[in-house]
């Protein structure tokens, strides 16, 4: 069974440009999370979807970040306009419901560099 996939693996953009990151979950996983790790610091939570609904978006840094999960399948995270401090590795993680909800499976991440 395929794991969590993320696209692109790397993205280099200029300050002020727009970037869209994509996450494809493990089939059947209703919980989807976005996290970010900046410059060797801790991995920080951004937001949590249950199916297509935003369960918790308390970690979103500001309104330049927009996350969507249409149809409860894949998710996108758009940064518009990008700033220098948005550079980092963005991880997507997914988990099942009920008894399997605790184990989060992470994708390989998207390394975003804003110049």
């Amino acid at each position: 069974e395929a794991g969590v996939t993320q696209f692109p693996s790397h993205s280099v953009i200029e300050k002020g440009q727009t970037v869209t990151l994509r996450c494809d979950p493990i089939s059947g996983h209703d919980n989807l999370y976005w996290y970010r790790r900046v410059m060797g610091k801790e991995i920080k939570f951004l937001l949590h979807f249950v199916k297509e609904s935003k369960q918790d978006e308390s970690g979103m840094p500001n309104n330049r970040f927009l996350a969507e999960r249409t149809g409860g399948t894949y998710s996108t995270l758009k940064v518009q306009p990008a700033e220098l401090e948005d550079s980092g590795v963005y991880f997507c993680a997914t988990s099942g419901l009920a008894g399997g909800a605790d184990t989060q499976y992470f994708g390989p991440g998207t390394r975003l560099t804003v110049l």
């Binding site: 999370y33 610091k41 920080k44 939570f45 909800a101 605790d102 989060q104 499976y105 992470f106």
Partner: protein, 112 residues
């Protein structure tokens, strides 16, 4: 408080040594404590996890020790191998699929 503090930031041991990584949390509502292992270019992968109703959990060469009163937990790697060289993250959350609050990570290097 949502913070999880992890130490040390980096650790070098010889093959066969027993590296120990420590974490402390503040929020007593946390009831699920996983450790993740991350290799370069890969995403974090669940290594082992513990719930606060037990003080120790062992899986293979990996052991979590948990001290509920001190709000601390640690990872021990027995008979460490060069293949264990990776970044290790502790985390905490509320059971049932809540967000993970991560420590800062520990870069472990096991020398042959």
């Amino acid at each position: 408080q949502q913070q999880v503090k992890q130490s040390p930031q980096s650790l070098i041991v010889q093959k066969g040594g027993i590296p120990i990584i420590n974490c402390a949390y503040e929020n007593t509502a946390f009831d699920y404590f996983p450790w993740y292992q991350q290799f370069p270019g890969k995403g974090p992968a669940l290594l082992i996890a513990i719930r606060p109703d037990v003080s120790e959990k062992k899986e293979g060469r990996f052991t979590i020790s948990f001290n509920k009163s001190a709000k601390q937990f640690s990872l021990h790697i027995m008979d460490s191998q060069p293949g264990d060289s990776a970044t290790y993250f502790c985390a905490a959350s509320k059971m049932g699929g809540g967000k993970l609050i991560f420590g800062q990570g520990t870069e472990l290097s096991v020398k042959p």
